[in-house]
Every structure is written in structure tokens, then in C-alpha cells.
Symmetry: C2
Subunit: 337 residues, 2 copies
């Protein structure tokens, strides 16, 4: 019989979790185990603080998201937020609310997925909380990063004439989710080249965010967790400006394009609406394109695509086939999809 | 018909939440609304970081815990952890995972219960996350406080001969929970004098924790969220020592005692096992009783009771009726109560 978390005491599970963690960095004076962790704050930097919760049945489906991907994604969405502020990850906390029937091996895998990504980005897990649940699996993460006070990237700095860029490609998150739903994750690992990998193992653009902040290349930045249309509207609103996008320039993932086309779906609409891409959307002053090129040389081949320009007039317009259509933030209904 | 959170968009709920927050303190450079908040770290202090999750059906029952008490308690358990480290609260994040049928008025009340306690302890809500849930209501909070690097209170500093103290009274949390279960909360407010109030509106001992740290009175400290027996064992183990407690000295709440006695329950066992008291357990060197008295004068009348002494021999013993009985940490089963 498979051992489940419900067969263990909370102490056993905490010990099990701690046994899977790396030794903390020296700025963590006291790690997990006391009433709170004790952490030296960054010197001469400010802190970026974010939190994001992943709920089974809302943000992920255990039928096709393997447990290590659940742990990976729960941290990735938070690191993506830090990246969008130009902050380097430092510490994170992890709360897992688990149905008692959750297999112990799945618990281990959630923790391992989390810690593998944490290790890659040098984020130390300093605190956590385990609880059982009469309902779905919930993984809640708070993450804190460090950024120089004058290098913070916000959504609010875009100025008319700035170019609008997006990193990587669009649509892979949505197409990956659709493919997972249709086929299950099978044995898709992180190394596979497949839109499912892009959905299951998103790569937060931490390095790009740091470079955009440090070089001063970007005037505004945010991440695309809720899709490009939502991002464009949020960034334009926060900056009190508008954005005009050329739909033909969107870097739509080829496999995602093929997937949408084969289903007769509107590729442009899918790329605009689709979430889960965790790319960065940012604006660059034309006078600072040299800084952007300098940053781009250090992003390990991550593509940066110019898709439009900031306008003085508020509102977001997407040009396609000779017409310019207004884009509004998706009405995300809280009660259902 | 009652409006529910499921009738709203996430944006509407976030706007509603933000409208209920106080203006942030000046060290919060960017509050909620961007990808992450930007906070100036404390100068010359270290940070205490903690997180605690409250799950409906596990940690609270909506049948008798009113929504503002749910918000209050979710923050209180975290502030209690900060207090146990000697840290002053600074910032907090709040994640609420909600069934769509949750009335909007309840959502408001959860936020108001949280912010009222945050205001009292000068903790700024800098980030949050709202999600719907196909299951129970989950409220997850992370809190960060500041403490001087040489004034941190841990569980590990107790030395043989130190006196063992507990703040306030014991048993009220458990008796309050039992009374709530039996009678419902009715219209019990925070000002009522009743064990139900103690369960519903726990007062984290933030001021005491600060005083114990700043004066150097305590050698070790922790909070009693999981009960006195658990606390004694944890503190003794972390310090590599033992503790001998005189059961007759335990400051058992009179109303709680009456409640347990009227049900034929073992009062001492109930006081040892009972959680939800959020008092501080701490040890004091006999040479530093002067410092403790100095601290005690500033605690606004909160009683501090000496209940035992630290021993060189490991293990926790409770003397009662001429015999000394060993105490072990409660086997808290993860799968069920």
C-alpha cells in the first residue's frame, strides 16, 4: 500500500521536508525550526515581497501536473514576480495544505520540485507550514528578493515613444495546458522540447529582470502570468499611457501556433489571452537601446522581441490585417473560469 | 440575495480589499498593486520571518468563528511567532482561498479583522493573493518583523537552574473552543470577558516578547500555540536540557478550570495539552530576575508566572500530587485530530 501523508505525524512530515533542504546561506542566521527564521536583510538594497497561491482544481490539475512540477510552478510564479521588479531572489516560505490521502512520494516530489528551482536561483526556504485539508491541495509561497533602491522596475515608468518588448515566446503556456489536458503529461521531463514542458516547468526570467534593472534599460516591466492582453492593459494603465502593438510581430511559439491552427482557433487571440507564459513585458526608451543590447548579450540566448510602442493616448490597440482593435483586460470571473 | 465573492471579478475583490487598508508606512516604498511590494529593510536589525496557514475544518469552524475573528486569528498566530523571537512586526502578506459562495460581507470582515490587528501592532499589509477554491476557506499569512541581532530570542538558550515562566493564563483557548462548539459564538465581541473571546480573539504577546528580548531577561522563549506540554518539550529539546514543572503552579484560567471540572475532565491534563492559548513560555536566569521585574512593569498588567526550573537532565517532568510524571510532545496525527 502506498504511504500517504495522512499516515504521518506533522513532526515526521516537517523532519522529512527539512531533510530535503540544502544548507541555508550564511545570511540565514536561523533557518526553519524555531518560531520564526532569522535573516540578515540585504545591505544597501530594498526588498521585493510577493506571494502567490496555487490551488488544485483552479491553478493546476493533479491528473496531468506531476507533483514536482506543482512545487516548481508554485515557486516559479513568485520568482517571476520578483524578476518583474528587477529583484534577485533571496528567501521564500512554503505552505502546503494537503489532503491526507496525498502519497508521501508526492509530498517529497512537491518539495523537491520547489527546492530544485530554489537552488537554481539561490532562494533559501526559511519557513513553512504544513496542514491537512478536507479539500484540494493548496501550495502557497511568499518570496522576498533584493534590488537596489534606484534599480527597481515597476509597471508605471513607460513613456510615449518607448518601445514595447516581450521576452521568449507567447502561447506555449496555453497550448501546453491544452495538450496536457488532451494527452496527460506522460513522462514529460524538464528537458523535453514540447509546449507541455513550457506549461509544466515555466522558467521565470530572473536573469533578464536583473539585467533590465541593473543596466537601466527598461522604463517599466511586468510579468505575463495573466496573459499578454492583461499585461499590456495593466502596464499602460499603471503608466497612465497607451500602447500600440503590431500583431504580426508577436513571437508566437511555432508549436503553439500549429496547435491553435489545427483546432481552428484564432492564433492572435490565443496569444493575447493566454496566460502561464511567465515572460517579461517591458518598455525601453529609444535612447537606451544600447543598454538593452548590452543586457540582451547576457541573457543566454533568450530572445527579446519588439512588439509595439507606448503612446501618449491611453488605451491598448493591436493592429492586425490593416485594422487596429482595442484590447481590454480579460474579465476574469472569480467564481468560475 | 446575499452577494457572494463568486459574483465578483478578481479585480473587483482586490480593489475592495485595497480600499479597506490603511495608508502604508513610509518604509513601504511600493505597496500592493505591482508585481511585488518594495520595502526598505530595517537598519541595523535582522528580520524574523514566519508563516502560518489557517484552514477551515482544521483550524477553525465557520459555524462558530465569525469572519472578522478568522482574519484576526490568521494574523495573530503569526504575530505570536514574531513575539516569541523578540521581534517587532513590520510587514505581512495575506492569501485568501475562498469558496465562491462566501458572502462579500464575510470577505470584508475577514480583511477587517486582519487589518484591525495589523494596525494595533503596526504591521503593514504589503502583498496578497485572492483565489477561489473548490474546497474550504484557507487564509495563509506570512509576517516579517525586526529584531536587533543580539536580542533575538530562540528556543535554544535555556540553561540548568533557569526559572521557567509562562505569561497570562492557560486552558482558556481549549475551553473557549469547547464552549464555542457547544453554544456558538453568539455575539461575542472582543471586549467580552469569556473564554470564548480568548479562543476567538487571541492577543499575541508582542509587547512582552519585545521586552524580554530588549532587556535580555529571557534565555529562551517560544509561543504556546500547540499547548504547554508541546512547548515544554520543544524548548527543552532545543536547549538540550530538561524542565521540571510544578503542576500546582500552572496559571489555569478560572473559567476554563470550572468548565473542565464541570465535565469531569482532568484539569491539569487539559491545561498541559490545550493549544490556542498564544501565551509565551520563557526561561530566565536567577541572576536576571531584576531584568524580568523591569520588563514585567511594562507589560500592562499581563501576569507572568513561574512554573518550574530548567534541569541538566533531559526530559520534561510535571510534579502533581507528590509524583513526577514525564511529559512527551503530543503525537499530533496529520491525517485526523
Amino acid at each position: 500500500m502506498t504511504e500517504a501523508v495522512g499516515d504521518c505525524s506533522e513532526r515526521t512530515l516537517i523532519a522529512r521536508l527539512r531533510g530535503r533542504l540544502d544548507a541555508p546561506p550564511s545570511f540565514v542566521r536561523i533557518g526553519p525550526g524555531d518560531d520564526a527564521a532569522i535573516v540578515e536583510p540585504p545591505r544597501n538594497f530594498v526588498e521585493a515581497v510577493t506571494t502567490d497561491v496555487c490551488v488544485e482544481g483552479v491553478h493546476f490539475d493533479r491528473a496531468f501536473v506531476p507533483p514536482n512540477a506543482i512545487g516548481h510552478r508554485a515557486l516559479a510564479v513568485n520568482l517571476s514576480d520578483l524578476a518583474a521588479m528587477g529583484a534577485a531572489p533571496r528567501i521564500a516560505t512554503l505552505s502546503i495544505v494537503m489532503p491526507p490521502a496525498l502519497p508521501l512520494a508526492d509530498f517529497d516530489a512537491i518539495v523537491d520540485g520547489f527546492t530544485a528551482l530554489a537552488r537554481e536561483h539561490r532562494a533559501a526556504l526559511v519557513g513553512g507550514n504544513l496542514s491537512r485539508s478536507p479539500g484540494p491541495l493548496v501550495v502557497d509561497v511568499a518570496a522576498i528578493g533584493a534590488v537596489h533602491g534606484r534599480k527597481v522596475l515597476t509597471r508605471a515608468g513607460a513613456r510615449p515613444g518607448d518601445y514595447v518588448y516581450v521576452s521568449g515566446s507567447l502561447g506555449a503556456g496555453r497550448a501546453g495546458l491544452a495538450r496536457c489536458r488532451a494527452s496527460g503529461h506522460g513522462d514529460i521531463g524538464q528537458d523535453a522540447v514540447d509546449v507541455r514542458t513550457r506549461y509544466l516547468w515555466p522558467r521565470p526570467r530572473v536573469r533578464l529582470g536583473l539585467l533590465l534593472g541593473r543596466t537601466g534599460a527598461a522604463t517599466a516591466c511586468m510579468d505575463l502570468s495573466d496573459g499578454l492582453a492583461d499585461g499590456l492593459v495593466q502596464l499602460a494603465e499603471a503608466s497612465g499611457r497607451g500602447i500600440r502593438v503590431d500583431g504580426s510581430l508577436l513571437p508566437i511559439d511555432p508549436e503553439a501556433r500549429q496547435w491553435f491552427e489545427s483546432r481552428g482557433e484564432d492564433v492572435l487571440q490565443r496569444a493575447l489571452a493566454g496566460g502561464d507564459d511567465y515572460e517579461l513585458l517591458f518598455t525601453v526608451s529609444p535612447r537606451r537601446l544600447g543598454r538593452l543590447r548590452a543586457a540582451a548579450r547576457l541573457t543566454h540566448g533568450l530572445s527579446l522581441t519588439r512588439i509595439g510602442q507606448v503612446t501618449a493616448t491611453p488605451g491598448v490597440l493591436v493592429e492586425s490585417g490593416g485594422t487596429a482593435n482595442p484590447v481590454t483586460a480579460g474579465y476574469s470571473h472569480f467564481g468560475r473560469d
